[in-house]
Amino acid sequence: MWKRDEAVKPNTPAGTGPEPAPSAGVPPAAQAVRTSPATANDPQRGVERSAVNIGKSVVIKGELNGSEDLTIEGQVEGKIELRQNVLTIGPNGRIKAQIFAKAVIILGEVTGNVTATEKVDIRDNGSVDGDIAAPRVAIAEGAHFRGSIDMQRTGGKPGEKPGDHKAEAKSAQSGQPAGAAAAQPTGQPAGTPAGASR
């Protein structure tokens, strides 16, 4: 009796609609799943789109291009390019590649340069050996990083404005004496400016 109820109930939360049945030809290691429209780390909140998982047992050598969000739990060597999408390197992901994406979330290991037009987020136990170029970089306590971080060079379109703070810094560097960032170190009282910038 209980078993019959469970079988009838859908697994997806209310409102997202029934999940499409996986096609027979797609292996469980690399399958497309429909994401919830409002996940915590989703920059395209409210837009329903698909995400692809590359499973633990998958090894890819070569160039990986796409226009979908991608989660990698396996190994990739070469180049990954998802210019308009979010790339997540899962805790089991081992990447030896150059990465270009809109946003990169790293929980596994990456060896190679990472370029993002929005954000690079190295989570706890994530590891990066390489250079990062992104307007915003977040590194959690416990993450490993060796390389350089360039928050000026967006790696994307030249006209893009990555953030207010960068604009402040740029105006300060352009030699204007009234630039906020240039004036802060010597004259500002403790506490206010840095707190505001974070």
Partner: protein, 217 residues
Amino acid sequence: MLSDLLKWGGKRPDSSDSAEAVVAPPHGDEPIVASKAFPKLLAALASQDSPVLLDFGPVIGTNVGFFGERLGCKLYIEDLLVDLDRHTRAGTLDVLPATFESRFRHGDASVDGVLCWDFFDFLDKAAAQVLARQIVRMLRPGGAVMAFFCTSGVPRASYTKYEIVDDTHLRHKYHAGTGGARRALLNRDIIKMFDGLIVSDSFLLKNNTRENLLRRR
């Protein structure tokens, strides 16, 4: 039993001989210490266009955001504590000077600032001299080096990492590691070691740390 009695009545161990046991305080309880040299370093960096900054400490997210977003720095993380720890554990500290000779990929006069923190305290004379020479080589004219030096050579059983709280304050956080003996360098030794730089600012803090800012003319 006799040994117990002798120990009880014997000479107490000198505090300077034993490593300072540092227990990691709960998150958020680490001391916040006012820094005198740090605002000077920020002023030096702010005067440069897209400054290149070298950080010898472990990566800290808030520091990355501070230097990247506030000052537009290009930040190079060269976590030398990892090297030091590895060689300390392996008992190969004698190869550290050679490691420093070849470790840095930066060209001559290509760096605007160097954050040494208290790393020099843990180095022997040979390693410290090689590292200082590399810093002088990499530093651009007008560039600045911030380094902290202890005043007494009390060994440490761990390291400290420095998180930026604001323009004038640093949070001294526990950083796990082997630690080891610390050398209290004399001011004249520091000046000699960084031949080619001038000590532009030197502050003795209440916690007996010397904060030095060295500049290249």
